[in-house]
């Protein structure tokens, strides 16, 4: 396993629970042999394939790295992405783009659709204009102080623009990107080379694990009903054997999680810090006054724990979104409604009013950084990108880091294949892991490792901790990494605003009607109604249709499974329902949540929110590889 790890931790027990057996006919699976199989196409795999595809042939066109499966040909490299398109990725992306720029010397990256060079960057504290935000005493004091001395601090539009943006979050000389358009642009370059094959719309079900080695992947079965039972046209998923499996399927990817479950993670490593990012791409009105390359980071509203952003692309397009972190312990945690209140904040609404929704989406972010890092390499496999713990939680940056880890693995592959050395654990550690450990990605992730520890104690503690860690280069971290703290109950979160009896009554009424509890509680606690305008402020379901074009291909099984119904029945908060980005999970008739895959945007929030309601490590949800999801390329 990886170079600096010790013994693997115990595998996650719930992952080993036997799900109901599907009575499949005797299956003869097709098999195919390639040299390298990649799982997931995002920035990390983009970096990997971009680098590798340039090195498979010599300048004279002869084979430089020869295939073992097809002698005489270059390495046979194939990549499978579960989404229906390679540009359907979701991320609010502002990046320093150091690694990306290095991969495209001489290319003006601003030519990528929706890309803009960062020109203006601000950190803004948003006060609460509604009176409904769950503010602590210190935030209330800060708000009152700022309001009473607003003329001194330059308070405008219920917001305070900080005069100083800490260097560790600055993206000077960086790029504002649409990750969807960036992925599309990269895949166009890579595929046009003809050196590798990338196939969207094809979920990878699981890794082929043989002992301690990964020998390839198994694709998802096709032609099944929602429960996985064969139907007309049943096609068992193919077994793809590969000397190297590159796992870049992101933080909630089925292959990466299965490897963790079966082969374990380095001792002490755990992925408990998450966030759900939800964003809209908005066409601004002509006189909005926002210039391309403008970057706003916000804190303070709609809840103190929720960070926000606004990035301006060319052609009057802007990405606007929020992050709901796992340490926001309120069980009322609807990202969609919070996003609407965020946009309606006077500081932002003066720009956004009159705008039109062009796209919408959501994604889970793995925010454990180094603490969540899995084994980066083993026999026959390597982990890259966000699922490998590359996201820098101090800088709030993941795209460039993920890209760079892909480049580092490609360089290692070129070295090993060039010397006819196998993709063994030792060889990958000596090449890929070594490169990663010596790079800026790793050095900066060490600085960031404990920067967010303080958020477990509170927002103010967390922000102070981030500032101190960032300004001292990680040498000082005021808060130690603490034990997991369970999600608050409804009474704990809202007991001061309403009575337990009323909460109970609201719960029962919402359960009976199948309506949203979080909307009901937010209404009760004073959050104003959203003034729907049919263009930008629209219902959650309209956002799925107008902004995401969400759909699911027929012939695949459900990818969200509730393992033990009795645990769901006993769960009071059912955070999977509250946090579901697409309202795909609803309260079922027998208190077991119901799942509608035609609304699922594959954000994965159910996975870690379910765990958050237990001990933080194990959830009752199995999140498999699924087809479909968002059909927007603007995110």
């Amino acid at each position: 396993m990886s170079a600096d790890s010790s013994e693997p931790s115990a595998a996650v027990d719930l992952q080993k629970i036997d799900l109901p057996k599907i009575d499949l006919p005797k299956i003869e699976r097709q098999e195919m042999n390639v040299d390298i199989a990649c799982v997931g196409f995002g920035p990390a795999t983009g970096g990997f394939l971009t680098t590798l595809s340039h090195s498979l042939l010599n300048p004279d066109g002869s084979v430089r790295l020869e295939s073992a499966t097809s002698p005489g040909l270059p390495l046979q490299v194939i990549c499978y992405e579960r989404a229906d398109g390679l540009g359907f990725g979701v991320s609010g992306a502002v990046t320093r783009a150091r690694g990306i720029r290095a991969s495209f010397p001489g290319v003006d990256l601003a030519e990528i659709p929706m890309a803009a060079a960062v020109k203006r960057e601000k950190l803004v504290y948003l006060l609460d204009p509604t009176g409904a935000s769950r503010r602590s005493f210190s935030f209330k004091v800060a708000d009152r102080l700022l309001r009473s001395l607003g003329f001194v601090f330059g308070l405008k539009h219920d917001a305070f623009e900080l005069p100083y943006t800490p260097p560790f979050i600055q993206k000077h000389n960086g790029l504002v990107l649409s990750l969807g358009q960036f992925n599309q642009w990269v895949s166009d370059q890579v595929a046009a080379s003809g050196m590798v094959q990338i196939w969207p719309g094809m979920p990878v079900a699981e890794p082929l694990i043989e002992g301690e080695a990964v020998a390839g992947v198994r694709l998802a079965d096709q032609g099944t009903d929602l429960h996985g039972h064969p139907e007309a046209g049943f096609t068992p998923g193919m077994d793809l054997h590969a000397a190297l499996t590159v796992v870049g399927d992101g933080p909630v990817g089925a292959v990466g999680r299965k490897i963790d479950a079966q082969l374990g993670k380095p001792a002490g490593h755990e992925s408990r810090e998450w966030a759900l990012g939800m964003k809209m791409v908005i066409e601004l009105r002509e006189d909005s006054g926002l210039e391309p390359g403008t970057v706003l980071h916000t804190i303070g509203f709609p809840e103190p724990e929720i960070f926000g952003f606004l990035y301006v692309h060319p052609d009057r397009l802007a990405s606007v979104g929020i992050f709901i972190p796992s340490w926001f312990r309120s069980p009322v945690r609807t990202a969609y409604r919070y996003l609407q209140h965020f946009m309606l904040h006077p500081y932002l609404w003066r720009y956004l009013e009159g705008g039109t929704l062009k796209s919408w989406g959501a994604k889970s972010l793995q925010e454990s950084g180094r603490h969540g890092e899995p084994f980066l390499a083993g026999n026959g496999y390597a982990r890259i990108g966000e699922g490998s713990g590359s996201t820098n939680v101090l800088a709030g940056s993941g795209v460039d880091e993920a890209w760079t880890t892909g480049v580092q693995l490609a360089e290692a592959v070129i070295e090993l294949a060039g010397q006819n050395r196998p993709f063994s654990r030792e060889n990958l550690e000596a090449t890929y892991v070594r490169r990663r450990r010596e790079s800026w990605v790793d050095k900066e992730s060490k600085i960031a490792a404990d920067a967010r520890n303080g958020f477990q104690q509170g927002v103010v503690t967390g922000m102070i901790g981030m500032a101190v860690a960032g300004l001292t280069g990680g040498r000082v971290t005021p808060a130690a990494r603490s034990a997991y703290r369970k999600m608050s109950s409804l009474e704990e979160a809202y007991g001061s605003r309403t009575s337990p009896a009323e909460l109970k009554q609201m719960q029962e009424e919402c359960a009976a009607k199948g309506t949203s509890l979080h909307d009901r509680i937010m209404d009760r606690c004073g959050w104003p109604q959203i003034p729907m305008d049919g263009k930008l402020l629209i219902s959650h379901q309209d956002a799925l249709l107008m902004g995401g074009g969400v759909q699911a291909s027929p012939g695949y099984a459900n990818h969200v499974i509730f393992r033990r119904p009795e645990l769901c029945r006993a769960c009071e908060t059912q955070l999977c329902v509250e946090m579901c980005s697409g309202q795909a999970i609803t309260r079922g008739e027998d208190a077991v949540p119901a799942f509608d895959r035609e609304k699922c945007v594959y954000c994965g929030a159910c996975l870690w929110n379910c765990a958050a309601d237990g001990d933080g490590a194990q959830g009752n949800i199995d999140f498999k590889a699924g087809a479909g999801g968002l059909h927007s390329a603007l995110n």
Binding site: A192, Q222, H631
Partner: protein, 271 residues
């Protein structure tokens, strides 16, 4: 009996049907806003034609049948769509790097398609079947396939086809859609013939990685060789362009029967 068919499918890319389209005026005429940024799919009508072609080729006597897909569209978009479609069925791509705009002149598009088909090496007219979407290529004009057939001097043409059955004597029985939800049944002696497909009856084929691997070995080189050909406007002039008017009203219901929902929708449409 035939010795196998040479089936040429005409089909290009259109924006993913789930996208919101916004017509704009450009110096060269109407276009869709940010069309190159929108995700694209193979025209659904043409996709049905392609699946029917692959099915017919696989069932035809002998193994000498072959399917070509002639696509006129921006090379980058064709490449993106091929990554999906090439997993489904076997074909040889004949790409032409040109406009796939919905505002293209049907005569110019047909001329380009016919010329491209005639230039396919080894194409045997005695075994030639030209497939396409009934309304594809011109995105609704419904004229392009007919014009292609006329330029290729193919006299047997069928539009709105839902089923093509090969008879024991090698002739085709063809079901074409007509008004009233019925089919007109015709018999055609055999190739050459042209079929503008409606939806057909076949389900979308499953992804097959081996088919994809085999297709891509020829698709990417073909795309690299694709010639850029400007599409003549044919003197076509648009006075205005606008998307169909739509009105959206959404609400979530959990306690209504399908009949009640259908009745409410019918009443809403009638308002």
């Amino acid at each position: 009996m035939t010795n196998g068919y040479h089936i040429v499918v005409c089909g290009s890319v259109v924006p993913d049907p789930l996208q919101t389209l916004e017509p704009i005026q450009t110096p060269t005429g109407p276009a869709l806003k940010n069309e190159m940024m929108l995700p694209a799919v193979l025209d659904p009508w043409a996709a049905h034609a392609l699946y029917e072609a692959a099915n017919l080729a696989s069932k035809a006597a002998g193994s000498n049948s072959k399917v070509w897909l002639v696509s006129v569209g921006p090379k980058a978009k064709l490449q993106q769509v091929m990554m999906t479609i090439a997993q489904r069925v076997s074909f040889e791509l004949v790409p032409v790097d040109s406009s796939a705009s919905g505002f293209a002149d049907a005569h110019s598009t047909a001329a380009l398609l016919a010329g491209t088909i005639q230039a396919i090496p080894g194409l045997d007219r005695a075994r030639l079947l030209v497939f396409g979407g009934w309304e594809s290529a011109s995105r609704g004009a419904g004229a392009t396939m007919q014009l292609v057939g006329e330029r290729l001097e193919i006299l047997d043409q069928f539009q709105g086809v839902d089923q093509l059955s090969v008879q024991a004597d090698g002739s085709f029985e063809v079901l074409e859609r007509i008004e009233g939800g019925r089919h007109q049944v015709s018999v055609c002696s055999g190739p050459p013939a042209l079929f503008g497909w409606a939806t057909g009856n076949l389900p979308e084929p499953r992804n097959n990685p081996q088919v994809g691997m085999a297709n891509m070995r020829t698709v990417m080189p073909a795309l690299q060789r694709a010639k850029s050909v400007p599409l003549a406007d044919g003197g076509l002039h648009f006075l205005s362009a606008s998307p169909p008017k739509q009105q959206r009203q959404t609400r979530v219901v959990k306690d209504m029967s399908a009949e009640q929902i259908a009745q409410e929708i019918a009443e809403w449409i009638g308002k």
